[in-house]
């Protein structure tokens, strides 16, 4: 693992105001260590998507900065990959699965033969061997999201950022995808930043959770999740630590929502 | 035939702003300036048949004061109206029948599929032979070019009716004629509107085309005469007038269709 003294991802005093209106993000500072599973939760409408767009370099913050391995980020970084909630919209319907997953490699000028083998490898990792020739709309929602995850992993990113990635699939598929994500994170020693509105999911998956307030979004607290490296859908969720953390975060969110602004 | 034939590219959102009007005007100024430069000091100076922008503009303004232009415009629009009336009646009748009855559809669909993609200009020599350079030539050409859009939209409109509504009417034991008049036709009205809008744009082009190619009265005939007498500034002025006419015509039709759809809450 890399140097632990320096955080992989650091947000310093991040603020965002769209022209002329009230601020959406207000002075958010947090650090994500290398190899950490880090979740960001908050009430709906808290500007989570704005935060995510700022921290991936898709949008410039009004104030403050984001650093990746100590280097300020002003545009999307090659070390970082993104998975969106709307898999039907983030995949290209006119391209086969193989071409979809290979796109980021093409952007980097990886030769064709290597592209093919890396695509096959990463598709196998997400449990979708041999679907290269199919089109996204021929697959189920859960499978499409696996394709999106494969596309994010194919560049072997250091940081994987996920925006509500499991919000549009059914409950069983959701659990499968959660476990897949956790396993991939362990296998690749990847840093994952997950934005979600689902507290249970955040507690189940994360090592640390940042709780945001709304109007504007401020950092309320960062919660450690001491549930160990191995997680299990039934076991982990039965642990008293799980229930405690879940209750604590839900209470925090309810408090910030009822507080007068 | 596509929907895109007469909708406009320029769709200001949230009301027309000064900046947009300014930029649009600047676009026209750039074009006219470039034209003027090209034809006076630029590479196309003294090209035979190409008037300068200023000559064209003054000819365009001159035309505005000529009764000939206005009577030609009037004739053109009159022929368009007659052709459109025929196209709408025939197109809706055939389209609704084809959408409603599988037998009529089987009878007429193949022939419509064959004739529809053939551009109406193909029939011009034939029609000219039979009708001569008369107003009827413009009407016939317009009809042949415009009827298909109405027919297709009517067909689709009837076919796209929510099956649940049809089931409901069947559950109420409505007779077929009542189903047609109270359910099928009203719910297909937005489609008729789209068909009429597309059709009208085609008909305007064809009525003018019949004038240019076959000497049918109207704007087309006027430009044909101007070309034959070798008056480039007048020819270009008439082209600008035809663009103005087309733009106004399409804007009115698009607005009318939008208003109707909004009023009906249709798709």
């Amino acid at each position: 693992m890399s140097d632990t003294s320096q955080p992989r991802l650091a947000l310093t005093d991040l603020s965002k105001t769209y022209d002329g209106s009230t601020p959406v993000l207000d002075g958010i500072s947090l650090t994500v260590g290398a190899g950490e599973f880090f979740s960001i939760v908050g009430p709906s409408g808290a500007g989570k998507t704005t935060l995510l767009r700022c921290l991936t370099g898709l949008m410039r913050p009004t104030d403050g900065q984001v650093t990746l391995d100590g280097i300020p980020l002003s545009e999307p970084s090659p070390k970082m990959s993104l998975v969106f909630q709307e898999y039907t919209r983030s995949l290209m319907p006119w391209a086969s699965i193989g071409k979809n997953v290979a796109l980021p490699l093409r952007a980097r000028g990886v030769p064709r033969a290597e592209r093919t083998s890396r695509v096959a490898k990463v598709l196998a990792e997400v449990g979708l061997s041999g679907v290269e020739a199919k089109y996204p709309w021929q697959l189920s929602g859960g499978m499409q999201q696996r394709v999106a995850i494969a596309r994010a992993l194919v560049t072997e990113p250091e940081v994987l950022v996920m925006d509500e990635p499991f919000a549009s699939v059914d409950a069983q598929t959701r659990m499968d995808l959660e476990d897949l994500t956790r396993r991939l994170q362990q296998d690749h020693r990847m840093t994952i930043v997950l934005v979600t509105h689902d507290i249970d999911e955040a507690v189940y998956l994360s090592d640390q959770i940042a709780v945001l307030s709304k109007n504007p979004a401020r950092l309320v607290e960062v919660v450690d999740v001491p549930l160990g490296a191995e997680r299990d859908q039934i076991h982990t969720r039965e642990m008293s630590t799980f229930a405690d953390l879940r209750g604590r975060i839900l209470r925090t969110i309810r408090d910030v929502q009822t507080q007068p602004v | 035939m596509s929907e895109a034939t007469s909708t406009l590219l320029w769709r200001p959102t949230g009301g027309v702003k000064l900046r947009q009007v300014g930029l649009a005007a600047a676009g026209f100024v750039v074009w006219l300036g470039l034209w003027q430069w090209m034809t006076t000091t630029g590479p196309m100076a003294d090209t035979d048949g190409l008037p300068t922008a200023s000559r064209t503009l003054s000819s365009t303004l001159e035309l505005a004061g000529s009764s000939q232009l206005w009577s030609s415009l009037g004739t053109t629009l009159w022929l368009v109206a007659i052709a459109l009336a025929f196209a709408v009646v025939a197109g809706i009748a055939a389209g609704v029948a084809m959408g409603f009855s599988p037998v009529v559809s089987a009878l007429l669909d193949p022939i419509s599929q064959v004739l529809r993609p053939i551009p109406a200009v193909v029939w011009l020599p034939l029609l000219l032979m039979v009708l001569g350079p008369a107003p009827e030539l413009g009407i016939a050409m317009g009809f042949l070019g415009g009827v298909w859009a109405v027919l297709v939209q009517a067909q689709v409109g009837v076919r796209d009716i929510d099956p649940v509504i049809l089931e409901t009417s069947r559950a109420m034991c409505l007779p077929r004629r009542l189903t047609l008049s109270t359910i099928v036709l009203p719910s297909a009205v937005p489609y008729f509107a789209t068909g009429i809008r597309i059709s009208a744009a085609f008909i305007l082009m064809l009525v003018i085309g019949a004038g240019i190619l076959g000497g049918a009265p109207g704007l087309g005939q006027l430009i044909l005469v101007a070309q034959q007498t070798g008056d480039p500034a007048r020819v270009f002025g008439l082209v600008l007038w035809s663009g103005l006419l087309g733009l106004t015509f399409n804007s009115i039709l698009t607005a009318g269709e939008a208003l109707l759809r909004q009023h009906r809450g249709g798709r």
């Binding site: 767009r53 980021p104 | 320029w10 048949g49 022939i111 082209v239 399409n250």
Partner: protein
């Protein structure tokens, strides 16, 4: 309804037209409506294949070349107008204006400037079919999903690759629709410019036949033009359906889910 009865019913109208025309033209002896077999004989004499290389192929070459030029110029222009906001706001209305000019209206001025050679015909066809392609491309730029555009940016796809792989692909249904309208305009302009001012070509021969009251040749020419118009569209539709198979498949799968 079974396929057989559909086919049978579909044949009723065409057969009725052909039979009644044959019967009527045989009896009426109208100078305008010669018997069918006379028309078909003339069709064979003229177009299979005596005049093909002198009057059909050059026309089709003008059509193809003109449309090709329109596509080559129209797609980049449309892409610029659709992607760069101030360009779209500045030149969109001008484009709307020019697109509203009936294509045939472009023939008289362009003939005055360019004459009646093949190069003039190609230019007329190219100008007339440029506008629909350009407008459709500009419109197609709005079809790219913002999420997909974000995904492309996150992958650091370069601006050119994003344009080709995302915007143009997402807009391809609209762009192909525009090219189809462009093809129709090109065909009309090919025929009309030959009818108006030319010394060869199918349009010219057919119009000359009409002027000299040679109704048999006129009918034979009309038949060929109709056949060509139909075929050009059919070929285009076949190509478009191939290119857009993903689009159809996606719509079917979304509609059924």
């Amino acid at each position: 309804m079974s396929l057989r009865s559909r086919v049978a019913l579909g044949l009723v109208v065409p057969v009725a037209i052909v039979v009644s025309y044959a019967l009527w033209s045989a009896n009426a002896a109208s100078p305008y409506f010669p018997p069918l077999d006379v028309i078909l004989t003339r069709f064979r004499e003229l177009w299979l294949f005596d005049l093909v290389s002198s009057d059909v192929l050059p026309s089709l070459k003008n059509l193809g070349l003109g449309l090709l030029l329109a596509v080559i110029a129209g797609i980049p222009c449309g892409a610029i107008l659709g992607r760069i906001r101030w360009m779209g706001e500045m030149f969109g209305p001008l484009l709307d204006f020019w697109r509203s000019v009936p294509p045939i209206m472009l023939i008289p001025p362009l003939v005055l400037i360019l004459g009646i050679e093949d190069s003039a015909k190609v230019t007329i066809i190219a100008v007339g079919s440029f506008f629909p392609v350009c407008v459709a491309t500009a419109d197609g730029m709005r079809q790219a999903d913002p999420t997909l555009v974000d995904a492309a940016r996150a992958m650091r796809l370069g601006p050119l690759k994003t344009m080709v792989d995302i915007y143009l692909r997402a807009g391809s249904p609209a762009i192909l629709g525009g090219i189809q309208i462009g093809l129709q305009a090109a065909f009309v302009l090919m025929v009309a410019s030959e009818m108006l001012a030319a010394y060869r070509g199918i349009g010219y021969l057919t119009m000359q036949a009409q002027v000299t009251f040679d109704s048999v040749t006129m009918w034979a020419g009309t038949l060929l033009l109709a056949l060509l118009g139909f075929t050009a569209n059919a070929v285009f539709v076949a190509i478009r359906n191939r290119v857009l198979s993903w689009h159809t498949g996606m719509r079917v799968s979304r509609a059924s889910s």
